[in-house]
Subunit: 385 residues, 2 copies
């Protein structure tokens, strides 16, 4: 079976783009990815987006973005799985190329969170949770994560600043990423003095909602031009799993079953072991999610995920670098675009084009996109070949 290659990479700065709208933002990333991909012409576009129907009163992004990007006529569709939408769009693009019916697919993640003509951001983000049983009671994503974090800290005797390592790592890495929303390292004291948002979550435990767009071009290896200029990065594995939507339906709320399942499926498909993963882009929308993701994916035993951050094991020179471009925390959290950012960043690492964010000579990078409290988990393993 021929390899599926990430052949074009593009991204916009993540932040507050008050001057441009959703379509312009997406176009910037699409143009960059198509330029990076050279002469490849996409036949299909998979758009990862979560919030536009609410925040921008705009659904039907497939037609909008093919139109605006001058690609009218090609196949186009939006793929949604809450915060995992970007990863899910990558998955659909991968399946399309794998099917043999699409030769070149464009995967676009876009989210515009600063302008809101409809619902507010927190209300829109709450559509990821169970509307009838959670959101209607006023439970927001941040409040839900706070409940999880509180339980985790109680179960595992975590000190008050136990999660600081996630923010410190993210901001240290984000400082080297020219596209990051926050490009400044922070000190432990900054974390310790941070304002609470929803205790025990403080300002540095939660990723900032942001505008951003990322895009990539997927194609089969045999379709690349002979003079292809970039190192080859392939999708070694692609897997998705679901869990209960409502947190209260889980036997064990402190374990992300979907992350466990999707990671296991991906590792099996790639034919490798977990310790061959050279870096990991987790979905740190909240620091508690990062800790639970490390544990549920098998990188740490239960209750020890936070220690990987505290000990520096997830730092760029640690044994499992994470959030290498700043993660959701410092690069910023552009909702449903996030998974595509992760893929672009991981591919840059594997190409050796990560600049100041570069980790040493990686072969395998794993990216994980979560929707809600891992009600959806999408895992891809990228490999330099």
């Amino acid at each position: 079976m021929t390899d599926i290659i990430l052949a074009g990479l593009g991204q916009t700065d993540v932040g507050e783009h008050w001057d441009i709208g959703l379509r312009e933002l997406a176009f910037t990333a699409i143009e960059a990815a198509l330029n990076d991909a050279g002469r490849l012409k996409p036949q299909a576009m998979y758009v990862g987006n979560m919030l536009a129907p609410n925040l921008s009163r705009q659904a039907h992004l497939g037609a909008l973005l093919t139109d605006f990007a001058g690609l009218t006529g090609i196949e186009a569709v939006t793929v949604e799985a809450a915060g995992a939408s970007g990863g899910a769009a990558l998955r659909q693009g991968y399946l399309a190329v794998k099917s043999g019916l699409v030769d070149v697919a464009l995967v676009v993640g876009v989210e515009k969170m600063t302008d809101q003509v409809g619902a507010g951001v927190e209300e829109a983000l709450a559509t990821a949770a169970d509307s009838d049983y959670e959101s209607v009671q006023g439970l927001t994503p941040t409040a839900q994560a706070a409940l999880l974090m509180q339980r985790y800290m109680y179960e595992y005797n975590v000190p008050a600043d136990g999660f600081a390592g996630f923010a410190l790592t993210a901001h240290a890495n984000g400082a080297g990423n020219p596209h990051a929303m926050f490009r400044k390292a922070i000190k432990l004291e900054t974390y310790q003095k941070a304002e609470p948002m929803s205790a025990p979550i403080n300002m540095f435990d939660a990723a900032p909602p942001a505008d951003g767009a990322a895009a990539l071009v997927l194609t089969r290896r045999d379709l690349l031009p002979a003079d292809w200029p970039h190192p080859l990065v392939r999708i070694a594995a692609s897997a998705t799993a679901s869990d209960t939507l409502a947190l209260h339906d889980r036997k064990d709320p402190l374990f992300f079953e979907a992350a466990y399942l999707a990671t296991g499926r991906a590792i099996k498909q790639a034919g490798i072991t977990l310790d061959q993963i050279d870096f990991f882009e987790y979905h740190d929308s909240f620091s508690i999610y990062a800790a639970m993701s490390l544990e549920s994916s098998g990188f740490a035993i239960r209750g020890h995920g936070w220690k990987m951050a505290a000990d520096g094991r997830i730092a760029r020179d640690g044994n499992l670098p994470c959030a290498t471009f700043g993660g959701l925390k410092a690069r910023g959290f552009p909702g449903g675009a996030t998974g595509v950012y992760q893929a672009v960043e991981a591919a840059l690492q594997l190409r050796g084009q990560a600049g100041k964010c570069q980790v040493t000579d990686p072969r395998y990078g794993m990216i994980q996109s979560l929707g809600g409290p891992a009600s959806t988990a999408v895992v891809h393993i990228l490999e330099k070949i």
Copy 2:
């Protein structure tokens, strides 16, 4: 290459289900499809939905519905392309099975339009149009279709009741469909006396928004059990195309370019000619769309689509039966679920299980899902083998 079979079919009644919510509605269809499919266990679920993020403040339907259907753990995602969402979900399910990475896929279309905790129905439906250039000016889908119909009638000298044939055919066929919202034939006089909604569109030119869910199971032919009880229906072709989102950006607003492209691609993939299509399920959200769909797909020359309805050529005993279960007009228009209804109905026709709606011994059925004014068109050709 092995055939992809529509192995399980399920649908709920279409109408106003004030007593049950979106998840219960979807579950009813899922259960019916899984029962019809016997022992096949789905590994992935593709949900076609357009309006839940607005009308029910509920995104993330993949996790919601796998959870509620007792399928927690499997892959699940929402696919959105406005009114074409159902067709687009079928397309993604098809690609997934075709890729060889998913053996059994569940495709679910669901829409709940009677209960609205967020925006109203017309406002939510308007997210299918260009928010910045159309919807913000107050242009609703019905008003937009009315402009098209007026132009069409002027260009082609269509009499005031020229479109009546679409409604008459739909209601005559819907009368035989136990799941239809309207199960009563209407007379020409009823059409002629109908109240205008947005002139020249009257109450019988527009399909009724409704609640409904349909589901189907896709798998490879070689995975069917030896004692498979149903006639085999395969997907002979699957194609999608896009057009400009905004109507004013088109050179020729009276031609659905995306329907033309998608139909052409599908016919080519199926390796047949258009006259081999035995029946056609078009997307008659408005009667003008049905007329333009017939023309853009190549079944009628420009300006003659309405005559196919007026002459009885689209009736059950005509040369191209259309809307055989009542179409969007009489079966009802459950938004993003519509394309899955079309697929279920077409498969029933090809199995010979269409009851009073049965057309005579069909081999090929074509279904077409439109998003907005065919800004997205999804076409599938189903074949009895």
